[in-house]
């Protein structure tokens, strides 16, 4: 059981996430929806501790996640895998190596500096890729793959972490509908078959309804809805998205990649 207790994050005095209290049962598939800037991404990053919360607690079973440091923190990150909107693969490494990077936490300093992954790890990586239907790309550079394929590589990498929780931050925001479906199906299957808790940020309401067991709506950093997909009526939507639900601004603008600076080979 993952428990967030009045979790908050301030950026320059502005609350991105404001006293969020949430319980996520083991094996649940939880969708987080809300306008862009509602704090969805910050919330997920805090759970994985890529962002440090400014207030509140995060617990997982008997672990006090929000207080972890050093080695323990890295172990938590390994147990709490994350996939990103922009996939965040190492484009110049081949696909199977990218997947094996999910094992880094289990390697010592010298072994990982030498780049020594075992044959067994390579085999499991290949199996994960095969399961996601992209094993034939194993030796290609990750940057040569399509967005949908890259996101599945990222999922395979997450699988190799053998996580207890899988966080997905807008996993389909940069993908076409067909790839989106493949990726969401994969997340769903991982959730069902491997009994891994999945928390996914989504901008697409229909997808959230179709795939998630439970939905949390965020507005201005606070939880304004928390319930089953069926309970998501027009009144709830209005509290989440404001008044212009009908005009289509319900969909977040898929965020542009901001941190991809032009690679000037000077």
């Amino acid at each position: 059981m993952l428990i967030l207790e009045s979790l908050g994050k301030q950026f320059d005095g502005r609350a991105a996430v404001d006293r969020v209290t949430l319980r996520v049962a083991r094996g649940q598939m939880l969708g987080v929806i809300g306008r862009s800037g509602a704090g969805k991404s910050t919330l997920l990053r805090m759970i994985n501790r890529l962002v440090d919360p400014t207030s509140g607690l995060i617990r997982h079973d008997d672990r006090l996640v929000s207080a972890l440091k050093g080695r323990e923190l890295m172990r938590w990150r390994a147990a709490c895998a994350m996939i990103f909107q922009q996939f965040n693969l190492v484009g110049r490494l081949d696909v199977v190596t990218n997947v094996m990077l999910g094992r880094l936490n289990r390697h010592g300093f010298l072994g990982s500096m030498a780049g020594a992954f075992s044959a067994a790890e390579r085999a499991v990586a290949l199996q994960a890729l095969d399961r996601l239907g992209i094993a034939q790309t194993a030796l290609q550079r990750a940057e040569t793959l399509s967005g949908g394929q890259q996101q599945r590589v990222a999922i395979a990498r997450a699988l190799l972490q053998e996580p207890e929780i899988l966080l997905a931050d807008e996993p389909i925001a940069s993908l076409d509908p067909r790839s989106s479906k493949l990726v969401m199906d994969a997340l769903r299957r991982i959730n069902r078959d491997d009994k891994i808790t999945v928390i996914v940020n989504l901008h697409d309401l229909d997808i959230a309804r179709a795939y998630c067991d439970r939905i949390v709506g965020l507005a201005n950093g606070s939880v304004v809805f928390n319930g089953a997909p069926e309970d998501l009526d027009s009144q709830a939507l209005e509290t989440i998205y404001g008044h212009d639900v009908e005009t289509g601004s319900l969909l977040d603008e898929p965020r542009r990649p901001t941190d991809f600076r032009v690679w000037a080979a000077a």
Partner: protein, 303 residues
């Protein structure tokens, strides 16, 4: 409509005169700043001529002596004996009678540069990560690494050599260490600039798997920057070859020691022989490394 024409010329002439006035003022400002710059420039020029003793009289007296010197260093070659043995005056072997010795020294010089480049590549690469603003684990390591590299770089390698010759004694080791320190600084700075231009998302992806800082550098940064590191280290190798050929002037080993000796002892023909040999070697290595570098870049483009 009809009421407008009288207004228009008035504004027009007004704005025209304003334009002219502004133009004049601008020109005056520009002329003034040009004059001031020129004046300053001439003052600095006169001052530097004064300080460095660059008087026409000294120059006129010195230049013929320089011509004479160059003339003295040129070998006396005669066409009929050009390829004769080392004992015949006017032959190339006579000119390069010490060739074997030179080759040994050249070999030493090149190996000094290779070893120094190799070591400084590893050190510079390792230090470039904490010295990059976007990668440093914390501000203190960043400042330490950055300042350290800057000091290593901004002290010329000849000055390092002066110090290390005292510490290690005369010989190649002192020269190698001096070149290592200087080029670690130069490469580290260059590499950290390369590091500062990489996309950061792969690092975040790797961090999210529970990887350590070292693992992030190894797997998210190194694959991205390695090709650029390699082409830059080749460039550095070229300049290390040049440096290792003169570091012997202060006792740092290599062919520079011999060159210093023959210049100071006025073994004129040996001066030209050695200089020619060094220039040829340096040029060959430049060409070779340019070739490899283009190969590297070409491969990068294709992949």
């Amino acid at each position: 409509m009809a009421s407008q024409p009288p207004v228009l010329p008035a504004t027009s002439s007004q704005s025209l005169s304003l334009f002219e006035r502004q133009l004049k003022a601008q020109r005056r400002d520009k002329r003034l700043s040009t004059l001031v710059s020129l004046g300053l420039f001439l003052i600095v020029l006169a001052w530097s001529i004064e300080v460095s003793g660059f008087a026409p009289s000294v120059l006129l007296a010195g230049l013929p002596r320089f011509g004479e010197y160059i003339h003295l260093t040129l070998p006396t070659l005669s066409l009929e004996n050009l390829l004769a043995n080392t004992d015949t005056k006017g032959s190339i072997p006579y000119w390069f009678f010490n060739f074997r010795h030179y080759v040994v020294l050249l070999f030493q010089t090149i190996n000094m540069a290779i070893l120094a480049t190799l070591v400084s590549f590893v050190l510079g690469a390792a230090l470039s990560f904490p010295a990059s603003r976007n990668l440093a684990p914390n501000r203190l390591t960043y400042l330490l690494a950055r300042r350290g590299l800057e000091i290593a770089r901004s002290v010329p390698d000849l000055v390092w050599a002066l110090l290390f010759v005292w510490a290690f004694g005369i010989g190649p080791l002192a020269g190698i260490v001096a070149i290592i320190v200087h080029s670690t600084g130069a490469l580290g700075k260059l590499f950290s600039e390369i590091n500062e231009n990489i996309p950061m998302s792969p690092l975040e992806g790797i961090r999210a798997t529970g990887a350590s800082w070292f693992q992030e550098m190894r797997y998210a940064v190194l694959p991205q920057v390695m090709p650029l590191f390699l082409s830059n280290v080749l460039w550095r190798f070229e300049s290390n070859i040049r440096q290792s050929s003169v570091i012997g002037f202060v006792g740092g080993g290599g062919i520079g020691e011999e060159l210093y000796l023959v210049i100071v002892r006025n073994y004129y023909e040996e001066v030209s022989a050695l200089v020619l040999l060094i220039v040829l070697t340096v040029t060959c290595i430049d060409l070779l490394s340019a070739h490899v570098r283009h190969g590297l870049i070409g491969k990068e483009r294709l992949a």
